[in-house]
């Protein structure tokens, strides 16, 4: 420990850091500015006496509890709300709270300086229709990183892959105005398996789900799921880990963790195909006998000129529980970034609920930056009033600013209080769906921890053709609101479903990693009434199957005695399987189909030849599996960290580097020696020390 002491001593010299003396002039200016802001704040906010320190706790009640039901009795009947909110010409001006009034000195001066030089958005959106086959080259990569324990075969299949995307148009499905479909996230089953992790006890609730099991191709060749571009699970898990706790297994949704990261899959070049699929089969890092089939989907990125003006209404929870540094204050700080990234023609409005309820900002053009920032700055979390009809008001305000060619969206920001004026989740979902059909979508931003109803967040966003994101820090806010702002706000394809049929002659077993809460019945694939996930502009979505090639010895099940493997027609015999993706254009009710065979030339035998994106996604999958105490995958933390570290690629924003740190953090919280691969064939993990 001598080393440690030396470092200690060296570090203690930091105490000698000198600081300059403040100049009295700067001090005077600062204090004067602050006094002006103080005076402005006193005018806006009613004076509070000695009770100001008291907060009314318990108003952040999740929906469906007795208390919210009682509160809802005073509300308008649902029918009335629907009528008012959905009518296209709303004349009634909603009440404007005094909060929206004067912009104060504060907002103008403290707003972060982020300049965005984007051309002005112009009217018409690019038409999205499906056309001719498109070649999908597999990203080639030269940088070599040794993977943990994948097999290293001499032969390499490093070739460009031309996967054909052969479009077909599906048979027209009945056009129904109000879809009564079951949301995809309905796979609620009680978990049969006990995890060996000690879950982090919080008030946050997560949908329980069983991990996908290994399926035998011969008896169960088809796998169907809905796309999921949510990323909430990763930020949530990161927050919990950074607080020194382990997340509860149900909070770890592996597909959301994988999809958190940007991948450089090739994007479609024309709007004719809204997205492009890139496939690759690489050795499994945690099992030398199996392979990973990675399907990467990248959404079309419309040029800035084709962007429709955005009409955004923020529905902000101002209940008392939002008054924590990582909630409303974080939202406020993030807001400046968002405003800067908008085009002058975009419209922003703000409605609050739960605390101070009402319209905090009438629809305002993004060019009027100071008014917008002034309004957000004046928001105050104080939780005492009940919900009123926050959500209906938000939709009404949004509809007011709806133009011929605008992208309309309500963005709900909350820490779990869904007391928005409609008292049961089902009614709320139906209401959101109805609004969606009127052309107003919904996205959900989750803040803080302790009260989040994750499943509800997810399903609300799903019903509103939007995503749920969890914002735990400023950087994340930037990612969700600015860098992926386009993706999160502009839907380019909806109800995207994926179906893979495996060829038993080539693949004897398969397992879909993650997407448990997005599972669909096989027959729902062609049923246009069944809702599924959306893809936004520039989104990437990745799905990974672990497959056991026939005869590889990687199968977990014994071979079937009475089935013969000679049945396949020769031409198709060499294909691993067949990928089908079904989607609808944003305004369409009928789905389209793209499909492509999964061919042998996608197989990369040498792990080091696999692209960094593919290797990185595998590392995230391994991390998720280990974190939730999965039955599958057996790698040590340091192996996972190494795998990810070698696959960082460009990593312009440092997300992958942060992931590596997170793996190390998890390692320190749950050292490998303590669990050492109890459940599976743990060869490596118990031997490798994490350093």
């Amino acid at each position: 420990m001598d080393d440690d002491k030396m470092t200690d001593e060296a570090l203690s010299t930091l105490r000698l850091l000198r600081t300059s003396a403040p100049s009295s002039e700067a001090k005077k200016i600062a204090i004067n500015a602050a006094m002006a802001a103080f005076d402005a704040a006193q005018v806006k906010a009613p004076r509070r006496g000695t009770f100001s320190g008291w907060r009314i706790a318990g108003f952040g009640l999740p929906i469906g509890t007795v208390a919210t039901a009682v509160a809802a009795l005073v509300l308008l009947p649902l029918g009335t709300q629907l009528y008012t909110a959905t009518s296209r010409h709303t004349n009634a001006t909603p009440p404007v709270s005094s909060m929206a009034a004067a912009t104060n000195a504060t907002s103008a001066e403290t707003a972060p300086v982020v300049t965005a030089d984007k051309p002005t958005a112009q009217g018409a959106a690019a038409p999205v229709t499906l056309q001719a086959p498109t070649a999908v080259p597999e990203p080639k990569s030269a940088d070599v990183a040794p993977t943990a324990n994948g097999p290293v075969n001499a032969e390499s299949a490093d070739r460009d892959v031309d996967a054909l995307v052969a479009p077909m148009v599906a048979s027209p499905a009945p056009m129904e105005k109000l879809r009564m479909a079951v949301p995809a996230a309905n796979a609620t089953r009680s978990s049969g398996r006990q995890s060996d992790f000690v879950p982090f006890a919080t008030g946050d609730t997560f949908q329980k789900f069983d991990e996908n099991r290994v399926k035998v191709t011969r008896t169960d060749p088809v796998s169907t799921f809905s796309i999921d571009v949510d990323t909430a699970a990763y930020s949530y898990v990161r927050g919990v880990l950074k607080d020194g706790e382990l997340p509860q297994p149900d909070a770890v949704r592996i597909e959301e963790m994988i999809n958190y990261f940007p991948y450089s899959y090739p994007a479609p070049t024309t709007p004719d195909t809204p997205f492009k699929a890139t496939m690759s089969v690489i050795p499994t890092p945690w099992n030398s006998k199996t392979e990973l089939l990675e399907i990467g989907i990248k959404g079309y990125v419309p040029p800035a000129t084709a962007r429709k003006p955005e009409n955004l209404t923020f529905l902000i929870d101002t209940s008392g529980s939002m008054d924590e540094p990582n909630k409303l204050p974080l939202l406020k700080r993030s807001f400046g970034l968002l405003v800067d990234s908008l085009q002058p023609d975009d419209t922003v409005s703000i409605v609050t609920y739960a605390g101070s309820a009402g319209v905090a900002l009438k629809p305002t053009k993004a060019s009027d930056r100071s008014t917008i920032l002034g309004a957000i700055d004046a928001l105050d979390a104080e939780g005492s009033t009940d919900g009123v009809d926050g959500i209906a008001l938000a939709y009404r305000v949004n509809a007011e600013a709806k133009g011929e060619e605008t992208t309309n969206r309500v963005i709900l920001a909350t820490d779990g209080d869904f007391n928005v004026g409609i008292d049961t989740p089902d009614e709320l979902k139906t209401y959101i769906k109805t609004q969606r059909d009127q052309g107003i979508g919904l996205s959900v931003l989750g803040f803080g921890r302790g009260n989040l109803d994750d499943a509800l967040m997810q399903s609300l966003a799903q019903n509103g053709n939007g995503n749920a994101s969890y914002i735990d820090n400023f950087q994340e806010a930037q990612k969700v609101l600015v860098e992926q702002g386009g993706a999160n706000f502009v839907t380019i394809a909806k109800d995207v479903k994926v179906q893979v049929e495996f060829n038993p002659a080539q693949v004897s077993e398969y397992r879909l990693i993650g997407y448990e809460t997005r599972a669909l019945n096989n027959e729902d694939f062609n049923n246009d009434r069944v809702d599924a996930g959306e893809i936004g502009a520039g989104h990437t979505v990745t799905a990974i199957y672990e497959i056991a090639p026939a005869g590889s010895g990687g199968e977990l099940n014994d071979p079937l005695r009475y089935q013969t493997s000679q049945a396949e027609p020769t031409g198709l015999a060499s294909e691993l399987g067949f990928l089908k993706i079904r989607y609808k254009d944003p305004d369409a009710d009928t789905s389209k189909l793209i499909s492509t065979p999964i061919t042998q030339d996608l197989v990369v035998k040498d792990a080091s030849k696999a692209g960094p994106d593919q290797r990185f996604a595998a590392a995230v999958a391994a991390f998720g599996q280990k974190l939730k105490g999965s039955n599958y995958g057996d790698m040590s933390w340091s192996q996972i960290a190494n795998l990810a570290n070698g696959a960082k690629g460009d990593d312009r924003d440092g997300y992958r580097a942060e992931f590596v740190q997170l793996v190390k953090l998890a390692a320190s919280l749950k050292p490998d020696a303590a669990i050492g691969g109890i459940e599976s064939s743990g060869i490596a993990s118990s031997l490798v020390e994490v350093n």
Binding site: D4, M6, T7, A10, L11, S12, T13, L14, R15, L16, L17, R18, T19, S20, P22, S23, A26, K27, A30, I31, A33, A34, M35, A37, F38, D39, A40, A41, Q42, R47, R48, S52, G53, A105, T106, E109, T110, P112, V113, V114, D243, G244, E245, D323, N326, P329, R333, G336, L337, D377, D380, A381, F474, Q475, Q478, R652, E658, Q661, L665, S668
Partner: protein, 177 residues
């Protein structure tokens, strides 16, 4: 951190929260130096520190109402200042944060250039290259001489997490010192 003014501060804070203009002004007078010096330590630039101190003061005008007395006022103030430092650094240089935002202490800003202080600055540059959380933990524990518990309060995490960050940081720095 400033125990002598603590009792007085609490009274001032309560009054300022209630809208007492004079109390708020006095509070700023008392704490401006603390805010400025903190910002200075973290940014290494006097001009940045002045900007940040001013923004913190303005922010306090509204934020003071959310101070709930669960932590000491100075800890809370430190956190507010630190947040502002972070925001400023992130918004000015989002891409090259570690390089630009954590620039070296400018010699002009620090006339007293004894040898020890110079070493401290060198070390500070190394610390500046650490990941955010590690840097924060190290700065709080070593530059501010806080206990891990105190640092945890400011960073808004568990004491054990601070210890872990410090541990990781030391490991990285070991080779460099």
């Amino acid at each position: 951190m400033r125990p002598a003014t603590a009792a007085n501060s609490n009274d001032l804070v309560q009054r300022a929260k209630g809208g007492d203009r004079l109390a708020f002004e006095q509070l700023l007078e008392t704490h401006y130096d603390f805010i400025f010096r903190t910002a200075c330590k973290w940014t290494g630039k006097k001009s940045d520190a002045e900007d940040i101190a001013q923004e913190v003061c303005i922010k306090l005008a509204t934020a003071i109402r959310s101070f709930d007395g669960r932590s000491a006022f100075t800890s809370w103030l430190y956190r507010v200042t630190l947040n502002m430092v972070r925001d400023t650094q992130r918004s000015t240089s989002r891409r090259d944060r570690t390089v630009d935002a954590f620039s070296l202490v400018h010699p002009d800003d620090d006339p007293g250039s004894q040898e020890e202080a110079a070493t401290a600055r060198e070390l500070w540059a190394a610390v500046g290259a650490l990941p955010d959380k590690q840097r924060e933990a190290v700065m709080l524990v070593y530059a501010e001489d806080m206990s891990h518990a105190e640092a945890a309060e400011i960073m808004g995490c568990k004491e054990a997490t601070v210890s872990w960050h410090v541990h990781e940081a030391k490991k990285t720095l070991r080779g460099l010192l």
